[in-house]
């Protein structure tokens, strides 16, 4: 079985140091350095013989923010903890800042890896004040330098003057900032964030993720985030690895993952959409119930075979003038838009995102038009999550 990253549709993008254009705005094509700040190669992890992570490769350039995204139980947290030094590897190697930290016969303990970590529950030391929490990893600094560094970090996370408080006096958001400051204080080679926003209100998460991204970028910190929330991943990461069943299915920007998923799992996990059956006509065209669909790049299926086309809700446009019509079977109001479920003549249901002033009742037939740029197609076999 080829390594998952080899079946990428595009060369693996990697972001260089600096604020950059922000995540999710388009595929970033700058070539990655040969040696990254973090290099994970062929890593497998097992508990009592049960594989949790198998054969994972992942590279992160200095100053980049990566993300391990996947459903719970996919092995993403285990992989992150392996980087930190809490899980021994069954095979493979991990290099941090050009130094091997784990591999055959080598497993540096966490305290010797220079990997800062922010935990899901922040794990502030309740018996220490905020300042002493932040200073916890700075015991090799002199007293004065330590005080300067603590003040600097509290300033950085917008908590200047809170040094004498205790963790239980802080709100969740404030605790998180202190956890971040504490992890960043010893200037680690990499910052590991384990679902750092999961205990926050849903409305706050994206905003916080963006704030943290800005902070890390300003400081030039290399970081990896683990999350199951794709919006969080899009808001924060330059490079997202989608994981399931202990494997990485695809690595790319949010844009890549949404518009050019490498396999059914990614197509299914990222965003919404349905699979529309069709027949392959040539290497860029597939005939479907909605007419012939043509993409800008080859879809990779053999001529004449049955296939399925991924249709996102934003691929279907509402057009009263269109002769193509479908029946409204369900609708979900989302403020600015409606998500309509539409039934085609064959009974196939598709999704369509429409501005919410187009208010159509259930049972009504409305005109639609297809607009796909990225034609994503898979061979027709239901129930399988893997390509080939």
């Amino acid at each position: 079985m080829p390594s998952p990253t080899e079946c990428l549709p595009s060369p693996s993008p990697s972001l260089s140091l600096g604020p950059g254009p922000g995540p999710g705005n388009g595929p970033n094509q700058s070539p990655g350095p040969v040696r990254g700040q973090l290099v994970i190669s062929g890593v497998s992890i097992a508990y009592d013989g049960v594989p949790i992570v198998s054969g994972v490769d992942f590279t992160l350039a200095r100053g980049a923010i990566g993300c391990l995204l996947g459903p719970s139980g996919c092995g993403k947290t285990t992989l992150l903890r392996a980087v930190a030094g809490f899980e021994p590897l069954a095979s493979g190697e991990i290099h941090l800042h050009g130094r091997q930290v784990a591999g055959p016969g080598l497993n540096l303990p966490p305290e010797e890896r220079r990997a800062g970590m922010v935990f899901q529950d922040f794990a502030l030391f309740p018996h220490l004040s905020v300042a002493r929490n932040v200073a916890f990893g700075l015991r090799f600094l002199g007293r004065r330098e330590r005080r300067v560094r603590v003040a600097e970090l509290l300033e950085l996370v917008g908590m200047a003057g809170a040094g004498d408080k205790y963790p239980h006096q802080l709100s969740g958001g404030q605790q998180q900032r202190i956890a971040l400051a504490r992890a960043m204080a010893p200037r680690p080679d990499i910052l590991l964030l384990d679902e750092p926003f999961s205990s926050m209100d849903a409305e706050l998460r994206e905003q916080l993720a963006r704030e943290v991204r800005e902070l890390l970028k300003r400081e030039g910190v290399t970081a990896i985030l683990v999350t199951h929330d794709q919006l969080e991943a899009f808001a924060m990461a330059d490079r997202i690895a989608v994981m399931s069943g202990g494997r990485i299915h695809q690595v790319g920007s949010g844009f890549d993952l949404y518009h050019e998923p490498a396999d059914r799992f990614v197509a299914d996990f990222i965003g919404q959409g349905i699979m529309l059956p069709g027949r392959v006509v040539d290497d860029r065209r597939i005939d479907t119930e909605l007419g012939p669909l043509t993409g800008t790049s080859p879809h990779g299926l053999a001529h004449g075979t049955p296939g399925e086309v991924l249709l996102r809700p934003d691929d279907i446009l509402h057009d009263d003038a269109s002769p193509l019509r479908a029946e409204v079977v369900n609708r979900a109001f989302r403020g600015a838009e409606y998500l309509y479920s539409l039934r085609l003549a064959s009974g196939q249901v598709i999704l369509c995102l429409v501005q919410s002033h187009h208010n159509h009742a259930i049972g009504e037939h409305i005109g639609i038009r297809v607009a796909v740029d990225h034609l994503v197609a898979f061979p027709r076999e239901t129930g399988s999550h893997t390509q080939e």
């Binding site: 990997a115 030391f125 309740p126 990893g137 680690p188």
Partner: protein, 556 residues
Amino acid sequence: MINATVTAGSPRSRPGYWAWGVIALALTLALPVLVVLGFLFAPAGEVWEHLAATVLQDYVVNSLWLMLGVAVGTLIGGVGTAWLTSMCRFPGRGLFEWALLLPMAMPAYIIAYTYTGLLDFAGPVQTLLRAWSGWGYGDYWFPEIRSLPGAVVMLSLVLYPYVYLLARAAFLGQSLCVLDVSRTLGNGPWRTFFTVALPLARPGIVAGLSQALMETLADYGTVQYFGIATFTTGIFRTWFGLGNTVAAAQLAALLLGFIFLLILLERLSRRQARYHQTSQRHQAIRRYPLRGWRGLVAFVFCLIPLALGFLLPAGQLAAWALEVASTSLDAAFWRLVGHSLGLAAAAALLALLLALILGYGQRLRPTPGVTLAVRVAGLGYAVPGTVIAVGVIIPFGWLDNQIDAWMRATFGLSTGLLLSGTLAALLFTYLVRFLAVSLQTVESGLGKIRPSMDESALSLGLRPGTVLWRVHLPILRGSLFTALLLVFVDVLKELPATLILRPFNFNTLAVRVYELAADERLADAAPAALAIVFAGLAPVILLSRSITRSRHAQPH
């Protein structure tokens, strides 16, 4: 408004008969402690001066040394074993996790008798030593078990589980992430233990320690047998030897002062523990594997308290019991068993009844007065049996004398001592001492019944009485049983109060063990001692089961 009239009929706003009942009950139960405290202000005369000039200093110094020694012993044993079994992986860990509680079943006086028999000149250890080395009497030095250090070891061996239990809970309650964070910030495992894990567990450990020290102060059997002058033995001596009630009560009051300091320490620690709670979600524990010689060291470290605190003494008791079984398991023995079981069962049932009254009183009318009353009623758990006995015997004796005087004046009849020296006085003493045990269990059971459960049952058309029967009882059943069992066993083990207050010629297992041991008939005491240890196993098994259950409930 209709609503207003409806709520006016609800139990919350009815005049508080129950509340007054609860307060009256609490005051009655607090009476012995109040009586003892009252004697702080009474003049004691010469005897007190004599005490202060001679033995009082010994009582204080010995008690302090005892507390210091037991503190060191239980801390090393309790915290060490708690850390190893909760955070490390080594052969036998799962077994030790619950087996380390077994010494709790061994009352301190029984382990003291057993070791005396094991280690004295004629005992198996010294006999073996002489046979092996060829030494004779006076040729060698052997540590004297009947000494202050000996008492420290005995008490530490049976009291370390208090520290073990609470330290273990504290370690397991810590967010593992906190320990991981320390590692990622450059601290090795040992440094992490001392800078993070230990400070975080401190409130739990101190709470456990203060319980162990309260038991140390309350101990009578061990120090009496080892001839160490402490407060409890002093109270006995002053009362029965010198016949001075007031001075005995004043000694008891002084002892109460020590106890109150410990209670304060425990309460403060528990309050602090709230802030030291770190984890909202429990993560599967990944125990640190100890391989090779490290695993062996951990194994031996856990085996020592278990073997010395339970296996060895229980084995010796069993051997003695077998030796004398043919002669000592007679009708008199079974009568003793009957007395002990009957007394313990009566006290357990009464305590449960009172606990239910207090618990429901607090639930129905949680006014500050009721809450305070319930707390006061539960104070006795920390008070040594000797002190309570003194506090019971004084007012009961006074009442008897009043009744007697009145009857003689009115009818020319002498009633003598109506209440003192009866089972009623003894039962009352047990209630004062052990009500807290059942109260705590009942309260935690009632806490599981959220008000919304009552409300949803009522909204489904059940009448209040039916709610009690169909909702509360099934939920409470487990707690009620636990409450009964805990008080039952505590009463069975109780020695000093029983010794003072039992009716003439009425013996229990514990008293019989004490009497036989005092006559140096240690083997003859074994069957009764073993029976007490067996009964003591029941709550230990309950505790271990809850430990194993919580372990199975953990993911992974």
